[in-house]
């Protein structure tokens, strides 16, 4: 057996060290990563990827812990990817989501991996989608992805997950917050956690009102997301799915069964409506687009050499040339016009 197929073999058997090492390779993005992904990609496409996002303090990690426990009780294997922010100053990070997931320790049907965002804004790390692929290929039936949780602008998860949960908590904002653009629009399921607190009913009503107001746009929200991000490809219309609002008290394991049911309902909706396939197409398009851009930029930079950009910057600062013209020159130097 070649080395690659030996690794894939051990991955498919669920060997945790192999999984962990492959995840590291994928995260560090070297040639080994490419080889690894090529080998394991044919084995992906089975997991239900569930994103969990929401502002800090809404209880995402506790909710993820409770969901994972409930899935395990139903004999479903669970992978968890938890993303925390990298310090923009030191490049380091405290990855502290595992601390809320003690209940899952020692369970062979659970794999938890913490990731630092490494400078990526948008709620995920650049390699998160690829890390999810490793867990998918390794056979985990549900993969929960917990975003950084900085709030309003974390929409990236909607491109990676099949089902996106947006977690709210009472008392974090008034009605106007509920209708602002941004993260609430990507929700397939809205969760009001800490639902035992004052204001919980008010939060639920505010969210219902938001959904009522947005009936037209909510059926096209994924399509809009794709268009505004500049991604080419089919708009995804989620006609027939109104995001349910689930109330939970995660820390007391309340409301979790209903939430799991909502997630299962969404999966069935995706499959029966053909939207699952559409989302796969949108996701693959977005990913190909991103990788193409990254590689092209790298190629250009390699061709023009390390000083060319600095020199262009100097000219721009000296008002000798504007940035658009500078780019045209750099591309010509790279042989691309």
């Amino acid at each position: 057996m070649s080395i690659e197929s030996d690794i894939v073999h051990r991955l498919l058997e669920g060997d945790k060290r192999t999984i962990a090492r492959l995840i590291s390779q994928v995260e560090n993005d070297g040639q080994e990563a490419l080889d690894a992904l090529v080998n394991l990609y044919p084995h992906t496409g089975n997991a239900h990827i569930v994103g969990v996002t929401g502002a800090p303090g809404t209880g995402k990690s506790t909710l993820v812990n409770e969901l994972a426990k409930a899935y395990r009780a139903a004999n479903v294997t669970v992978g968890i990817v938890a993303v925390d922010p990298t310090s923009p100053f030191s490049g380091g990070a405290i990855l502290g989501d595992r601390i809320r997931m003690r209940d899952l320790a020692g369970d062979p049907g659970v794999f938890i991996r913490s990731m630092a965002s490494r400078g990526n804004l948008g709620g995920l790390a650049r390699a998160t989608a690829d890390v999810v692929k490793v867990l998918d290929a390794a056979g985990y039936q549900v993969v929960l992805v917990e975003t950084v949780g900085a709030g309003q602008s974390e929409v990236e998860i909607a491109r990676t997950a099949h089902t996106t949960l947006v977690v709210e908590a009472p008392g974090l904002g008034d009605d106007v917050q509920a209708i602002k653009a941004g993260v609430l629009e990507i929700a397939d399921i809205l969760v009001v956690n800490k639902a035992d607190r004052d204001g919980a009913e008010h939060t639920v009503r505010a969210l219902q009102m938001m959904l009522d107001l947005g009936t037209n746009s909510s059926t096209d929200h994924h399509g809009q997301l794709m268009r505004t991000s500049g991604t080419q490809g089919a708009a995804v219309y989620d006609q027939g799915w109104r995001p349910p609002i689930c109330s939970t008290v995660a820390i007391r394991s309340q409301g979790i069964t209903e939430l799991m049911q909502a997630i299962a309902d969404h999966r069935r909706f995706l499959e029966e409506s053909g939207t699952w396939a559409e989302r796969e197409r949108v996701r693959a398009t977005a990913e190909l687009d991103r990788l193409l851009r990254d590689h092209l930029v790298q190629q250009v930079l390699m061709r023009i050499g390390p000083d060319a950009v600095d020199q262009a910057v100097e000219k721009i600062i000296a008002r000798q040339v504007d940035a658009h013209a500078a780019v045209v020159t750099l591309l010509a130097d790279a042989g691309l016009t």
Binding site: A20, R21, S90, G92, A93, I112, R113, S114
Partner: protein, 135 residues
């Protein structure tokens, strides 16, 4: 080093004084490392499980309860059993001088007691891991 090192910081056993562990975690973060902070009341099995799944480069253990001569060898043993011998293990807290030689023999690479300067820990971790990755 062209990638961030991944360090687990954990408190095995029952002692609840986590300020030291948090100080070390924060210092390592400020030195550019990715710290997987497991917190209190971790069993050796939980720590080793995490080290496997997180593909940790090093594990730092904080013990102020006096149970270090039981917990530390157990953790080192479990790491070995799981083929994780290359994980660098270091410890801190209340560890009497007379226990240090034994702990070093079983594979604890650094022991940092009260009054430790965090810069020393950072230098130590860097030196150990830079050396390991160049081999």
């Amino acid at each position: 080093m062209d990638r961030a090192y991944r360090i687990i910081i954990a408190k095995p056993g029952l002692d609840g004084h986590d300020r030291g562990a948090k100080v070390i975690a924060r210092a390592l973060r400020d030195a550019g490392m990715e710290v997987i902070y497991l917190g209190l009341r971790q069993t050796p099995e939980m720590i080793v499980d995490a080290a496997i799944q997180e593909d940790a480069d090093a594990v730092g253990l904080s013990i102020l309860s006096g149970a270090h001569m039981t917990l530390l060898p157990r953790i080192v043993e479990l790491l070995k059993q799981n083929g994780m011998d290359d994980v660098m293990v270091f410890a801190g807290g209340i560890i009497p001088d007379e226990d240090i030689p034994t702990l070093q023999e079983i594979g604890i690479r650094g022991i940092f007691g009260p009054g430790t300067n965090t810069d020393d820990v950072i230098t130590f971790v860097h030196a150990q891991l830079d050396h390991a990755s160049s081999n």
